[in-house]
């Protein structure tokens, strides 16, 4: 079998007495959509922060392809193809939607010690930014300040910023959090289009979406992985049923 794109081994991270990530190991193959589910406080967001390099693990290793990235800073991981979206929307509120994306495009378009030419009218940034906005269906909102976009639109922008880095591995932390049903449906459709094109790690509470989209699912509880497998295997796993999924939910 080919080397996995991401392999995490024995990852540990605690906050004082709280063990947020407890000896977590998992692998994600190239092109896979890997979902992580688990109750609030299970350590999913903490895991994503360690994968992105925002938090240093106390133990364990993270490999991207054949490269150990455990101690690599975020910006270098970003250059190696990891991108993330945030559970709590993290955009540039004063910038227009287009400028939000253009900034992310800029991060991967050579160095930015350029002091002279206006960035906002630079077609090399503007065109890709518009294309990405179109791809998430926000093209008509390009000139609107991000702060005044509707919640669902901000969630889409959140993902579009991550996509602008053209990642190989995209970490999505609850992309549908707080979305109205129609927006959530739009997001599911968008994710299914994305699936197969890049490798995705999806954290999501909507079980219908997870079981419909995921190639594999990892279940976390109290910082530990209690099961990992195909949607069918997870559905059939007794421990998962007991610990997390309500019996009736799977009936």
């Amino acid at each position: 079998m080919a080397e996995p794109l991401l392999s995490v081994t024995g990852l540990c991270r605690h906050f004082g007495g709280v063990v947020a990530t407890d000896n977590v190991s998992l692998t994600i193959a190239e092109g896979e959509l890997h979902a992580i589910i688990g109750p609030n406080g299970a350590g999913k967001t903490t895991l994503v922060a360690q994968l992105m390099g925002e938090l240093r693990p106390h133990r364990g290793t993270i490999r991207l392809g054949d490269r150990d990235v455990t101690t690599m800073p975020s910006y270098r991981r970003s250059r190696r193809g990891i991108a993330r979206s945030f559970q709590i929307t993290s955009i540039f509120p004063e910038f227009t939607a287009r400028d939000n994306i253009a900034l992310a495009v800029q991060a991967h378009a050579g160095h930015n010690f350029r002091f002279w030419r206006a960035a906002r009218t630079d077609p090399a940034l503007r065109k890709p930014a518009c294309a990405i906005l179109d791809s998430v269906g926000l093209g008509h909102r390009a000139d609107v300040p991000a702060a005044t976009l509707a919640h669902g639109e901000q969630r889409l922008l959140e993902i579009a910023i991550a996509l602008a880095a053209r990642p190989r591995l995209l970490l999505l932390d609850e992309p549908m959090a707080g979305m109205a049903p129609e927006d959530a449906a739009r997001m599911v459709r968008f994710l299914s289009q994305l699936k197969g094109k890049i490798t995705l790690l999806l954290i999501e509470h909507d079980m219908d979406a997870v079981f419909a989209l995921a190639d594999r699912i990892t279940v976390m509880v109290y910082g530990s992985v209690i099961a990992s497998g195909t949607p069918g295997q997870i559905r059939a796993n007794a421990e998962v049923r007991k610990a997390y999924l309500g019996e009736d939910e799977l009936a």
Partner: protein
């Protein structure tokens, strides 16, 4: 970046043009009304406008609340003073040294302080400025606490004569205009977008692939070097330099000019310098406790005009054109 209605954009441009025109006309007007001292007053105002403008590049655009910006003013002034003390009058050398010395100081201060943020950043920049202030006091060769007289202004190969008040005025004016133009290019360039992004959302900037420290440090050094030029000009106006030029209250005053005039704009700090120094002059004539009046004025501006005098004027312009 921030969306503005077209009317506001043009009214900002109008306010900018009016300020530039007024500043350009100060010497002839002062001569006409026979009040030549206005030339000196406005020279000083523009020198502080340069300092405030440079601070706003890191403060208003980069979100770095430096409370030690007067240190670069002092370094620039002492560079001229100390070279003059050794008989080096060459202006290119003096200004070159002022720029280099303040840039190196900013590089060092920024390298240490930019690892922190919030109140720690404010305190560390203040602490470094205090260190430089006390260092200047301890320089007994150069007058220590009493300061250092400068015999002759900078000599630019006899191209300009800075002992002439009007000439000095227009040199300062030209530097201010140059920095306004360069600053405008800078904040709208790719580099400018990076530091604005860092102000807006640092965490996201790191996640999308920016190593922020080097960009912020570069902005910090540019601002320090610009302020160093202001210091060198100040030394030329006063023909004297003393530690008081970089007292911590001076850093506070430059900060107030930026806030008063309008943070995150380049013209705002110029207006802020005009307003602050004009108020200081008027109020200190009335009472020795002028700061007791200045304080409340600042509070009112912060409360009722968050975008400062520049924002206020621009909005008045818009309402006029509508009415």
């Amino acid at each position: 970046m921030i969306m503005r209605k077209p009317g506001v954009v043009s009214s900002r441009a109008l306010v900018t043009l009016v300020i530039i025109a007024v500043l350009a006309l100060v010497p002839p007007v002062a001569a006409t009304i026979g009040e030549g001292f206005y030339v000196d007053v406005f020279t000083r105002i523009m020198i502080f406008a340069i300092a405030a403008l440079s601070l706003d590049i890191i403060l208003g655009y980069g979100g770095m609340v430096s409370f030690g910006h007067a240190a670069y003013l002092g370094i620039g002034a002492y560079a001229v003073g100390i070279l003059a003390f050794y008989g080096v009058d060459n202006g290119f050398l003096q200004f070159g040294t002022a720029i280099l010395a303040s840039a190196v100081a900013a590089l060092f201060i920024g390298f240490v302080s930019l690892r922190t943020s919030g109140i720690y950043f404010i305190m560390i920049t203040l602490a470094f400025a205090q260190m430089i202030y006390f260092l200047s006091i301890s320089l007994n060769t150069y007058g220590g606490d009493n300061g250092l007289n400068i015999d002759r202004p900078s000599d630019f190969a006899r191209l300009v004569n800075l002992s002439n008040a009007t000439t000095l005025y227009y040199v300062v004016f030209a530097v201010l205009m140059l920095f306004l133009f360069l600053g405008q290019r800078l904040v709208n360039s790719r580099f400018g977008m990076v530091i604005r992004g860092a102000k807006s959302n640092e965490r996201r900037m790191a996640a999308i692939g920016f190593p922020l420290l080097r960009y912020k440090l570069t902005a910090f050094v540019i601002a320090g070097a610009m302020c160093g030029v202001a210091g060198a000009l100040l030394a030329n106006q006063d023909l004297f330099v003393a530690p008081a030029v970089m007292q911590w209250t001076r850093s506070g005053e430059i900060l107030m000019m930026v806030i008063l005039g309008g943070m995150g704009t380049l013209v705002g700090p110029i207006l802020g310098a005009v307003a602050f120094l004009a108020l200081e002059t008027v109020l200190s004539d009335l009472t020795g406790h002028w700061q007791a009046i200045m304080g409340p004025i600042l509070v009112l501006v912060v409360l009722f005009a968050r975008d400062g005098i520049f924002g206020l004027l621009s909005r008045i312009g818009v309402e006029r054109s509508r009415g």
